[in-house]
């Protein structure tokens, strides 16, 4: 086998792992990094995005629009959840663990009752291509590009726009932001919606490639949490490098010794990184300034 083929396959595997890590994590990272809320219902927002995407696609919407629909509906559900529940818990972020755990129970079982135990898939578009001895799914490349796009978009949104500054201010000292004229409730709603929408986007993007069941969100959770933690509190400085580091570890370990080692490698990476950089990668990047 020639070097180019090997190289491409390594790159492809890396990109694939990177996309999954980053897309799984972004929504969680926004909600945790920005609001300090540990959203245990993150997987259910992903499931919501996937379900809406699949059902609108079944109804005849072209896939990109269906994914958009999934994203938007998740974001709307996010607004609702924020209004009804999360809003009352900013002062005590640890309680959000309980509340979002409760929400996740409601969402999973509610979906099972209302939609049934499974949903038909939509099929992966675009087909495959061949490099050397291997054939690859084109859609996986799309996922990788989507992950890059999401990272870039988020970075721009939170660092270059007024919304980003206000959101970060609101999270840090809410009463002071309010006293300076920031409508903190709106900011909270929008931020949470953004996180929920990103989760929905991940669900929508992966919907064509996965089993659609009410508990599907669970398969994203570990990767999501690991990425967020390694990234550290600052979402934008952290998530991208964390995605890179973890994707390398995961794809190398998996290709070397199989999926179990890929997973255990991830978990060991968490422990080592946190030991070496107790505040995650972004904490390290910012260490001079804190």
């Amino acid at each position: 086998m020639d070097i180019a083929t090997l190289l491409f396959s390594a790159l492809y595997q890396f990109g694939d792992a990177f996309a999954f890590l980053v897309l799984s994590a972004c929504g969680l990272a926004v909600i945790f990094g920005m609001m300090g809320v540990i959203n245990l219902a993150h997987g259910e927002f992903i499931m919501c995005g996937a379900y809406v995407t699949a059902s609108t696609a079944h109804a005849g919407l072209p896939l990109p629009l269906a994914i958009l629909a999934g994203t938007l509906v998740s974001a709307l559900v996010g607004v609702l959840v924020e209004l009804v529940v999360i809003r009352h818990l900013y002062e005590r972020p640890l309680d959000t663990i309980v509340a979002t755990w409760g929400l996740s129970l409601i969402a999973t079982q509610g979906t099972l009752i209302m939609v049934g135990s499974t949903m038909a898939g939509v099929g992966t578009p675009f087909g495959s291509f061949q490099v050397g001895a291997y054939s690859y799914s084109i859609y996986r490349i799309v996922l990788f590009c989507a992950a890059l796009g999401v990272l870039a978009g988020l970075y721009a949104l939170f660092n270059w726009t007024r919304f980003g500054v206000l959101a970060r201010a609101t999270i840090q000292v809410p009463h002071m932001a309010a006293a300076l004229g920031v409508d903190t409730r709106l900011i909270y709603s929008l931020t949470f919606a953004c996180g929920a929408g990103l989760a929905g986007l991940a669900g929508g993007l992966y919907a064509p490639t996965m089993t659609l069941v009410p508990t599907m969100g669970a398969t994203f959770i570990m990767e999501a949490f690991v990425t967020v933690v390694i990234g550290g509190a600052d979402v934008f400085l952290g998530t991208a490098p964390a995605g890179v580091v973890l994707a390398v570890i995961k794809s190398v370990m998996t290709s070397w010794q199989g999926q179990l080692f890929g997973q255990i490698g991830l978990l060991i990476a968490v422990i080592i990184v946190v030991r070496v950089l107790p505040k995650g990668i972004s904490g390290f990047v910012l260490r001079e300034r804190t």
Binding site: S9, Y12, Q13, D16, A17, F20, T108, Q109, L112, G116, S117, T118, M119, A120, G121, V122, G123, T124, F126, G127, S128, Q130, A133, Y134, S135, Y136, S137, I138, Y139, R140, P208, T209, M210, T211, L212, V213, P214, T215, M216, A218, T219, M222, S251, T254, S255, G258, Q259, L260, G262, Q263
Partner: protein, 385 residues
């Protein structure tokens, strides 16, 4: 004498719900039929149903409850092998009587248990030689990384070797994993003639869609998919094209017995997405229990086991004729080879009748003589007497 009580512990929510809700419905259907026809030996059959939520601890809680509080005569319980192992010590301790109506990795040698599901020797001794003959002797196994997957893979390895084939590779996937790009590439690298997929749980089923979109295009063989998780109904064609499954029942089986069963099932539960092999196992188990109680004239386990020991507890199930093996208290089955077409339609290139669960008996489990209340595996067989 009052009603006969049958406890039902099945996962109606959580991870396994998709494959197991149908089991509960099948039991309800059978009970209704039996009660309409006069019950079991004149006694009505009463169901005590709990939702175990795909959670092992719920099995432990509710197994105690049905045995001690509800005082049921028999329990039908469990989907995953872990849940079975969770409740088995309690059944043994409290001297209960339980049916495990599931296809599984085999090896349970326990007088308190009857197993109606198919076991590896029934599914693989048929499937693997067929595949090797048809496609070649180079085999790759992709299996769930836990007892069921590992033991099944062990069977595949053994049979492939016996038939003069060779393992091109093997990979075990942790439960809950849903991303397969690397595994797909490993398979392509190994260039097998076909892939044995022993993927369990809804997450792992994502493999098929992902393999199809990467254009892997290899025939697949499985003992667990289609028959349990009806993946051919859930995924868009042609992702399961050329998948071969040995199963003792699926709803596409075109025999009069199957059609009648399916009709009754769909009449009572019109929204049932699919009637899988576990549903049929559960359904026939109720009738089997009826027969045994009527012959034993008792619901006592010891009396019923005396009937089993006679070796002629058989019935005509929707799949065909089935019998209980007295040594292992497992069941012989009609094994269908289901082939998934490009449009996800099912055809049956081959049917094996009366395939026996021979391994436990041959290995040394004989419940008519001794009850070790244990689970064995080919690499950990019963101690020789």
């Amino acid at each position: 004498e009052g009603a006969i009580k049958l406890g039902v512990l099945e996962d109606q929510s959580g991870d396994f719900a998709a494959a197991t809700i149908g089991k509960v419905h099948a039991i309800q259907l059978a009970a209704e039929e039996i009660n309409k026809a006069g019950g079991i030996g004149g006694r009505q059959l009463e169901l005590v149903i709990y939702d175990t939520q795909s959670d092992n601890t719920r099995y432990q809680e509710f197994m105690r409850r049905v045995l001690q509080r509800d005082k049921v005569d028999v329990v039908f319980a469990g989907f995953s092998s872990a849940s079975r192992e969770a409740y088995r010590p309690i059944v043994d301790q409290l001297n209960g009587f339980a049916f495990y109506n599931n296809q599984y990795e085999g090896g349970v040698c326990d007088g308190h248990m009857i197993v109606t599901g198919a076991v590896p020797e029934q599914q693989f001794s048929t499937l693997i030689p067929y595949m090797m003959e048809k496609y070649g002797k180079n085999v790759y196994t992709l299996a769930a990384d836990y007892n069921f997957g590992q033991i099944s893979a062990e069977w595949v390895r053994k049979i492939v070797k016996e038939a003069g084939g060779k393992m091109a590779g093997e990979e075990f996937i942790p439960l809950g994993v849903s991303q397969f790009s690397q595994s797909i590439q490993s398979i392509q690298k190994a260039k097998p003639d076909f892939v044995v997929t022993l993927l369990v749980g809804t997450a792992q089923a994502s493999y098929y869609e992902q393999a199809a979109s990467a254009n892997v295009n290899l025939p697949m063989a499985s003992s667990v998919n289609v028959g349990q998780g009806y993946e051919h109904k859930r995924f868009k064609p042609p992702s399961l094209k050329d998948m071969f499954v040995t199963t003792n029942y699926i709803e596409e089986i075109d025999s009069p017995g199957s059609k009648a069963f399916l009709a009754k099932f769909k009449a009572k539960f019109p929204n049932e997405p699919y009637v899988n092999q576990e549903a049929e196992n559960s359904y026939l188990a109720v009738y089997l229990y009826k027969q045994m109680v009527e012959r034993a004239k008792s619901t006592k386990r010891d009396e019923i086991r005396k009937v089993i020991a006679m070796g002629d507890v058989c019935m005509d199930a929707p799949e065909g004729k089935v019998c209980i093996d007295p040594k292992s208290q497992h069941m012989s089955h009609t094994i269908y080879l289901a082939k998934v077409g490009a449009d996800h339609s099912i055809s049956f290139p081959k049917v094996w009748e009366d395939i026996k669960p021979y391994w436990l008996g041959e290995a040394g489990c004989d419940l008519t003589k001794k009850d070790p209340m244990a689970q064995y595996t080919p690499s950990n067989p019963p101690p020789k007497p």
